[in-house]
Assembly symmetry: C2
Homo-oligomer: 206 residues x 2
């Protein structure tokens, strides 16, 4: 729907805003009018933050996480264990895992998951660079931290096979009951899997 | 929640995006990462469209609709009937009414509705300027096109009283059944009102 609001400037802003994912024409108009009501500085700050971010942020050549130029902070930190590489789907997952404070190694961002239905094949992802990295840098453990979905499992399996000939331990995130969830409401697949993968009882929470 | 993503530029963009109404921290991060994935031109176009819009758009001194400088296109159009003024809550309502192609007059944008609960009093709205405009410009009809809500009705009544001493006809939008809606699902208030305000049957749709 291409509507005109008697203002090319407003039309352009609405058109650009509605290109964002999850933002339709109506929401874009609402956001634009909101910015027009606020003091001009709000719009200037938003506009320049977007431009500066896009100008300044590149991707780390090692792990493909975002970086403000060159190798990212995680890869270049002397406190991170570079022999343990956690493989994730995207930049957001790096943030999510960092928040747990349980991973002291580095990352490898694939940029997506293998999904033939969506036309995403292994060559569209950073899998070759992972295999090369593992081979050349003497990585000792690759932790597959992909979503427990069809696409995640396909990608897990593909990477596992590609790494099969290299002397590296390949692990994956544990699957089981969510902490705090009631057994009654856990889906059958997860429950079945958590029976198969049961662990020895311990009292220190591990 | 103030999270750091190892990048001041990303943090800033996320903070600015999440100031928008209806956009929380998670959505802001999703939008920022989307812009980082797309080619840089997408982000530059969005950022500058927002800045240019805010720079270039002002409000019409006559009707308070948006305008790219000076009196707006509607007020300055020789084809619009300047004796009929449609009073609306905001700029979005001008767009909505324009789309019906049923109003050939001009507008007056109040900038809100009287709402004591939200701290909006008549002096916060463009009501004085409406009264002045009606008195000075010989307006013949004021169409109150506000939402049929408590705030809309309060504002309607306030404006009606303020215009009582002036030789102007004050009308309001018809209330009744929505076209295409089933009688069964129409709320009682609207149905009751549409019985009280029933019109003579005619076959030409008026």
């Amino acid at each position: 729907m291409n509507q005109s609001y008697n203002s090319v400037l407003l039309d352009t802003a609405v058109a650009e805003l509605s290109k964002l994912p999850g933002i339709g024409h109506k929401t874009a108009l609402r956001l634009a009018l909101h910015l027009l009501r606020k003091e001009p500085e709000t719009a200037y700050a938003l506009g320049s933050a977007i431009i500066e971010m896009r100008k300044g942020i590149a991707y780390c050549p090692v792990c493909h996480n975002i970086s403000e130029g060159g190798v990212c902070q995680i890869c270049s930190s002397p406190r991170r264990d570079r022999k343990t590489v956690c493989v994730v789907e995207n930049v957001k997952d790096v943030i999510t895992i960092e928040r747990t404070n349980e991973h002291s190694g580095v990352y490898h961002v694939l940029g997506g998951l293998i999904s033939p239905l969506d036309g995403v094949s292994p060559s569209d992802l950073e899998i070759e660079s992972l295999v090369k990295r593992v081979g050349e840098e003497g990585v000792e453990e690759v932790i597959l931290a992909l979503s427990p979905t069809m696409e995640g499992d396909t990608t897990n399996f593909y990477i596992y096979r590609r790494l099969a000939d290299l002397p590296v331990k390949v692990t994956m995130l544990a699957r089981g009951l969510s902490i705090g969830n009631e057994l009654e409401y856990t889906d059958e697949l997860t429950l079945g899997r958590s029976i198969l993968n049961r662990t020895l009882f311990s009292t220190n929470g591990e």
